[in-house]
Symmetry: C2
C-alpha cells in the first residue's frame, strides 16, 4: 500500500503545482502570460486527472476494498477520497477535462475585465461554456434527484437540493421577519465613520495586528493582495491568504483578513502526521466556511474582540478616529441592512445573498438557460429578497469570482458554514468562557478547542463524523437561527418588541 | 507525430510548474514551507523525468529517426533535445533523480543561511552530497575524455575540458599582462561616488528606466527581488527577472537589471511559432550569457549608453550626484581592478573569477575530494590569479548560488558568453552603427539585429549553427581578446605604453 500512498502523493504534488500557478496569477503575474498559463494548468490538471482515473489507481482501490477494515484512518480517508474521484470522474474524458481547466484558467481574467468595465457580454460566452461543461460532466458522472446534487456533493458530502430547499426555507422564514424588526427598530447605528479614509499603509498594519491576534503563523503563510480575497494552501506548512484594500472602507479588508485567517488556521493546524498528503486541507467547504465564519463573525464581530484590540487599533488609525468608542466599532460592524454586495453583507442578510446564488445555480444546472437572461434574473431576485436593484452588473451578476473559477455548488457552503459555526459555539461554551477568552486576548484557547475538535483531522473525518463526535448530534440549523435572534435582539434592543 | 508533440508539451508544462515553485521560493515564500516544497518539486521533476525516459518517448524517437530529413525544423529540434535527454538519462534511476531534486530544492535555503552567517559547515555536507550525486550521474551517463565533459556539454553542446583548458589559457595570457598594464597605468578612475547612498525607492525607479530603455516587455515579464539576481521564463509570454538592492552600491543592481534584461529579451523574442514548447527558451547557457553580457557590457558599460540615459538618471539620483559627469559614470562602470566577488567583477577580471570556478569544478568531478578543503583551495586560487585573500567564506567559496542550485558545468558559459558577444558585436558593426544607435536611444535596432540572428530561433539551432550562419565562422576567442585590449587601452590611455 506504500505504492498507493506514493501515487496519491504524486497527485497531490501536481495539485500543489496548479495551486501555485493560480496563486501567482491572482497576485500580480504579468497579463501577457495568461493564455499560456491556462494551457500549462490544463496540461497539469490532465496529468493529475489521468493518474486519478488510471488502471493503477483502480487496482489499488480494489485491493484496499478487500481489507478496508484493517487499514488505519489515513488509508481509509485516502481510499474514500480517491474512490469518490475515481467513481465520479472515470467517465469524463481527460481531453474535455483539460479543455475545461484551460477555459477556467482564462475565465478569471475575462471576469475581472468584465467586472472592471461593467461589461457582462465580455464574460457571458465563457460563463455559458463553463455552465455547459458542468452540465455535461454531471451527465457523465450521473446524479440522483436533481442534477445539481452532484455538484453540491462535491463541496458538502451528502448535501442535496431537497435538504437545501428546506434549509433555506427555514432561514428565509426567520431572517425576513427578523430583518423587518431590525429595519423598523428605533435603534440608530452610527456607521458614518467607517468610510473615513484609512491609507493602505495603515490597513496593512491592521492586517498584521489581526493576524498576530488570531495566531496566524507567518512562518507558514503570507498575506498578499488580489482582486478577491482567498486562502490557498500548499500543504499545512504554507497556507497563504489575500485581501483587497479600499481606502474608504477599511472594515472590508479588516473582516476579509479575519475571514481568510480563519480558513488558514484550519489548514495550518492539521496534524503533522498527514502533512503533504491530499488529506492535509479541509474536509468540506461547509466545514471550511464554518471556521472562517467563526473567526470573522463570532470572534471578529464580538464586542469583546473590539474591546481587546481597541487600543492597538486606535494607535494605527490615529487622530482621525479619536472620537470613536469600542461600542461604535462594535455596532458598526454589526449593522444589519439590505445591501448589494455579498462580501460586504452583514451576518443577518448574508444568507439571502446565498439564496439568490443557490436558486440561480439550481436553475443553471437543472434547465435550459439563456445566458443573456442571467443579469435580469439576478436583479429580480435581489429585488425580491433584499428590496434593492443593482445599478450595474458589476454589483450584480458579475460580483463574485466563483463562476469564473468553476466553483458551482460552492455558494451554499457559506450558509452551511454559518450554521456549523453557531452549533460549534454552543458546544464550545459548555467547555469554556468563549467571550471571556476573546476579551482577554486568548483567541489561542478557542483555536485550541477548534484544533482539537475540527482542525487537526484535516480530511480524515467527514463533516457529519466531525459534528457527531462532539455531541452525538447532526447538523442542526436551529442553533444558527437562535444565535441570530439573540445577537440582533441585543444589538437592536428588540426585547420589548418581541 | 502530433502525439509526440503533445508528450513534449506535457513535459514542458511540468517544467514550467517547477520553475514557478522555484520562482515563488526565491521571491519571498514563507520559509516554513521549504521542506514540503522540496518534496513537491522532487515529485514533479520525477513525473517529468519518467515521461522523458518512457517507452512512449523511446517509440516516438525511434519512429522520428526513420524519416528525420522530412521533418520541419521544430520537429528536428524537438528530436535533438529529447534524444539527448533520453540517451543521457535513461540510465539514471528516477528515484535517485527525485532525491537529487529534493536535495537541490533544500540546498538553496541552506546555502543562503550559510552565506548570511558565514558558516561554510552549514552548507558543506549538502554540497558534498550534491557533488557525489553529480559524479554518480556522470558514471551512469558515461563520458568521453574527462568526466566533467558530460556536464559541460549540458550547458554548451560540444564543449570539453580540452577546449576550455586552451580557451582559458588564452584568456589568462592576455588578461594578466593587460591587467598589469592597467594597474600600473597613471590613469586615475574616480569611483568614490559609487558608494554614495541611493535609496531603494530611487533604485527601483532606475530599474524601471533601464527596463524601458532596453525594451523589456513588462506585459510579458516582471521584476522582483531575490537573494541572487536571475531570469526565469514560463514560455516567451512570461519571462521574469530579479535583482537585489544595496543602498551603498547602486551600480550593483543597475548592471544586474541590465544583465537579466538581456537574458529576458532573448526569451521574449523567440518566434511565436514555437511558443509554449521546450524550444522557446535559449539554446545554450553560453549563447544565453552572450545576450545578457551584450546588454550589460557592450551596451550598458558604453559611453554612449551613459550619454543617453544621463539626464533621466540624474533626475532620479538628485542633488547628491549633481557633480558627476557622463564620463565619470562611464569610467567608474569600467574600472578594472582585482576584486573578490564575481558578480561585482569588471569585464577585464571576470574571466579570472570563472577560471577559479572552472578549475575547482574540474577537480570536483575528476578526483576524490575533501569537501572541507574547498574553502582553502578557493582562497589559494583567488590569491594566485587576483592577488587577493577573501576575508570570509561569504565572499569566498559561498558567494555563488550555482552549486546550491545543482548548476555544475555552468560557470564556463559566462566566459563563452563574453566571447560570443564580442564576436556578434564585430559582425553587427558591419551592418549598422552600433554605438551610434545606443547614443540615439535606439537599443531597439540592436535588439532587432539580435532577434533576427539569435533570439527568434530559441532552441531551433545549435550554438555553432547560430554563429556559423552569420559569417560562416565558428566561435573565435580572438574577437573577445581584441575587444578587451581596445576597450581598456582607450579607458586607461595605454596607447603610449603598448
Amino acid at each position: 500500500m506504500e505504492e498507493f500512498k506514493k501515487l496519491t502523493e504524486r497527485i497531490n504534488a501536481l495539485s500543489v503545482a496548479n495551486s501555485m500557478l493560480h496563486w501567482d496569477m491572482a497576485t500580480g503575474a504579468p497579463k501577457g502570460g495568461n493564455a499560456s498559463r491556462a494551457k500549462f494548468m490544463g496540461l497539469i490538471a490532465a496529468e493529475s486527472f489521468s493518474l486519478m482515473i488510471s488502471d493503477e489507481m483502480k487496482g489499488y482501490l480494489e485491493e484496499l476494498e478487500k481489507n478496508l477494515g484493517e487499514q488505519n484512518d489515513e488509508m481509509k480517508a485516502l481510499y474514500r477520497e480517491f474512490k469518490k474521484v475515481y467513481e465520479s470522474n472515470k467517465k469524463i474524458p481527460a481531453y474535455e477535462m483539460q479543455k475545461y481547466n484551460e477555459l477556467t484558467a482564462n475565465a478569471q481574467q475575462l471576469w475581472e475585465e468584465a467586472k472592471e468595465s461593467n461589461n457582462y457580454s465580455l464574460f457571458a460566452p465563457t460563463l455559458n461554456e463553463l455552465i455547459q461543461y458542468n452540465k455535461r460532466f454531471i451527465e457523465y458522472r450521473g446524479y440522483e434527484g436533481h442534477p445539481y446534487n452532484t455538484l453540491l456533493n462535491d463541496y458538502e458530502p451528502g448535501m442535496t437540493v431537497e435538504k437545501l430547499d428546506e434549509f433555506f426555507s427555514k432561514m428565509k422564514s426567520t431572517i425576513v421577519p427578523l430583518l423587518k424588526k431590525v429595519t423598523e427598530s428605533k435603534k440608530h447605528i452610527d456607521t458614518s465613520f467607517i468610510n473615513r479614509p484609512v491609507t493602505k499603509e495603515k490597513q496593512e498594519k491592521i492586517s498584521a495586528l489581526l493576524m498576530r491576534k488570531l495566531g496566524y503563523d507567518l512562518n507558514r503563510g503570507m498575506l498578499k493582495e488580489s482582486a478577491h480575497p482567498f486562502t490557498i494552501g500548499f500543504g499545512r506548512n504554507d497556507v497563504r491568504i489575500t485581501t483587497n484594500y479600499h481606502e474608504d472602507q477599511f472594515l472590508s479588508s479588516f473582516f476579509s483578513v479575519i475571514h481568510e485567517t480563519g480558513h488558514a488556521l484550519y489548514e495550518q493546524n492539521v496534524m503533522e502526521e498527514i502533512e503533504n498528503t491530499v488529506l492535509d486541507s479541509g474536509i468540506s467547504m461547509g466545514i471550511h466556511e464554518s471556521q472562517s465564519r467563526f473567526y470573522e463573525n463570532i470572534i471578529g464581530r464580538s464586542y469583546e474582540f473590539w474591546q481587546n484590540i481597541y487600543e492597538e487599533i486606535m494607535d494605527i488609525l490615529g487622530d482621525d478616529f479619536k472620537d470613536i468608542t469600542i461600542k461604535q466599532f462594535y455596532e458598526a460592524s454589526n449593522e444589519a441592512k439590505a445591501s448589494l454586495i455579498r462580501t460586504e453583507a452583514d451576518e443577518l442578510t448574508y444568507s439571502l445573498h446565498i439564496m439568490i446564488r443557490y436558486e440561480i445555480e439550481k436553475y443553471m444546472m437543472g434547465e435550459e438557460i439563456d445566458i443573456n437572461e442571467l443579469p435580469r434574473i439576478w436583479n429580480e431576485k435581489v429585488n425580491e429578497y433584499l428590496s434593492l436593484i443593482p445599478s450595474s452588473d458589476t454589483e450584480g451578476v458579475l460580483q463574485d469570482v466563483h463562476w469564473s473559477a468553476g466553483l458551482y455548488g460552492y455558494f451554499p457552503s457559506y450558509s452551511l458554514g454559518n450554521a456549523y459555526a453557531a452549533q460549534l459555539l454552543t458546544y464550545m461554551e459548555k467547555d469554556m468562557d468563549v467571550f471571556g477568552a476573546i476579551a482577554d486576548g486568548k483567541v489561542s484557547d478557542i483555536t485550541k478547542w477548534l484544533t482539537e475538535h475540527i482542525h487537526k483531522y484535516g480530511s480524515l473525518k467527514t463533516p457529519s463524523e466531525l459534528i457527531r463526535q462532539i455531541n452525538g448530534e447532526e447538523l442542526n440549523a436551529d442553533y444558527y437561527v437562535e444565535y441570530l435572534i439573540k445577537k440582533y435582539t441585543k444589538i437592536y434592543e428588540l426585547n420589548c418588541e418581541q
